[in-house]
């Protein structure tokens, strides 16, 4: 029993499941995620990883089971702004530049756009591409532009769906760095991946999806 186990979990699922056309997409899930923890959601294609993350983000209605946020039933406005979701679709407008996209994200989160954007984009490896339309970036660069949101916006829980897809080795190391510093500062993250991933910082929790 570590200290983390006794503290109130950030996110707790009890017999959580989702039905599509009355067929369960995955078997009921039980897990706890504490602040400072990283969970890796594993499973084959079609095992419901993306569905799970969309449900945790609040995009999908919970079919059965319970989901608790800091010990209380999850409600839309209680966790608003504390969760960042990065899905298959990156949420970037192709006609806008990475800087403009970041500015919108900051505005939607009620933040003043500051000098932050430039340094965030530099750290994510997009220096020199700040004002290029996202349309003209490569798939990996688009991914980086989307990941920049994670650095700019404060959130306690990251839900990342396939964050490593389309990234080169440096990009993968970058994501691992991001995750490490996020968990070190008390954040938590859930990451789906069907490949094997090596984290530098300790062994992540594993949540296995079954049909």
């Amino acid at each position: 029993m570590t200290a983390a186990d006794t503290a109130l979990p950030l996110l707790e699922a009890r017999a959580l499941s989702f039905f599509r056309q009355d067929e369960p997409v995955f078997a009921p899930l039980d897990f706890r995620l504490h602040a400072g923890e990283l969970a890796l959601v594993e499973g084959d294609n079609g095992s419901g990883k993306t569905t799970l993350l969309r449900m945790l983000a609040g995009l999908l209605h919970i079919s059965a089971g319970e989901l608790h946020w800091r010990g209380e039933p999850m409600q839309r406005d209680r966790c608003a702004g504390e969760i960042l979701f990065l899905g298959h679709q990156l949420g970037l407008k192709a006609d806008l530049s990475p800087r403009e996209n970041l500015r919108i994200a900051a505005g939607l989160h009620g933040m003043r756009e500051g000098a932050g954007a430039a340094s965030v984009l530099a750290r994510i490896g997009l220096r020199g591409y700040e004002d290029e339309p996202v349309r003209r970036l490569s798939a990996g660069q688009k991914k980086r532009a989307a990941l920049a949101r994670l650095l700019l916006l404060p959130a306690s829980l990251w839900l990342l769906d396939e964050p490593y897809a389309n990234l080169d080795r440096i990009g993968i190391a970058l994501v691992n760095d991001l995750l490490e510093s996020h968990t070190d500062t008390g954040g938590a993250a859930m990451v789906t991946s069907h490949g094997t991933v090596s984290f530098h910082g300790g062994e992540p929790r594993r949540i296995r999806m079954h049909d």
Binding site: R20, Q21, D22, E23, H61
Partner: protein, 252 residues
């Protein structure tokens, strides 16, 4: 779930229970509809005297007016079921709302065509842009919109929720359409026709009319039951109770 929903309603809302319940009642509702329809039509077509103004043409009233009432009644049922479906996510309410739509569209269509067939000999035109007629036409489009939206979705339950939402928007809209067309008619004087002039109706004509109204109500019930049963089989295809039915019917 809200605790104030009566327990029997909650039980009836479970698909297998409703399937059995509807299956038991459906033949009786259909039999009543046929019996009342036969009595009403005999009274209306044979016993009732010809109208002193409209002669025998008025006999369309015995199907036209009940159909018109049914079109509005079914829309109301669909609206209430849609509301229940959206608020409490009860599957049976979704089924009732979505399976009411085709029946409602059928009655609305009958109302429009029989009204046209009645209007031609009586006021010399197939159609006029009267508030009632226009509202009925808009009602038909709303029914068709609900059906179309329902079938446009891959996920049936998602489609049902979206279409239920449209049905509720429509409920707000129909009175507004009626009001606006009435206003429009005051602006364009001369094109108005007094559709239902004399409302005094003799008892000989009234009882067949009311009997036909009851008959259409029972018909709706019967049709809804058989549609809802089919829909439940399709929606609950993975469940054991449906499998049992499928196997039982195959062995028969």
């Amino acid at each position: 779930m809200a605790s104030w929903i009566p327990l029997w309603l909650h039980k009836l809302g479970s698909p297998p229970t409703f399937y059995r319940f509807a299956g038991a009642l459906q033949p009786w509702a259909m039999a009543l509809a046929l019996l009342l329809g036969a009595i009403g039509l005999y009274g209306g077509l044979v016993l009732a005297p010809a109208d002193y103004q409209q002669a025998d043409a008025y006999r369309i009233i015995f199907i036209h007016v009940p159909s018109a009432w049914m079109s509005m009644f079914i829309y109301a049922v669909m609206g209430v079921a849609s509301f229940v479906a959206l608020v409490w996510r009860i599957k049976l309410a979704e089924v009732v709302a979505m399976e009411s739509a085709p029946i409602g569209a059928a009655f609305t269509f009958i109302t429009l065509v029989t009204g046209s067939l009645w209007g031609k000999p009586m006021w010399g035109t197939w159609w006029t842009w009267d508030a009632r007629l226009t509202s009925e036409l808009v009602l038909l489009f709303l029914f068709l919109g609900v059906i179309g939206l329902y079938h446009a979705f891959e996920d049936r339950r998602q489609g049902a929720r979206a279409a239920a939402f449209l049905a509720i928007i429509g409920i707000i809209n129909v009175p507004i359409v009626h009001f606006s067309v009435n206003w429009w008619n005051t602006l364009h004087q001369g094109s108005t026709v007094n559709v239902f002039g004399q409302s005094k109706i003799s008892a000989d004509m009234l009882w067949p009319l009311l009997t036909m109204t009851l008959a259409t109500k029972f018909y709706y019930l019967a049709s809804l039951f058989s549609r809802a049963r089919t829909d439940l089989l399709a929606l609950e295809g993975g469940k054991d109770w449906v499998r049992k039915i499928a196997e039982d019917e195959a062995s028969r």
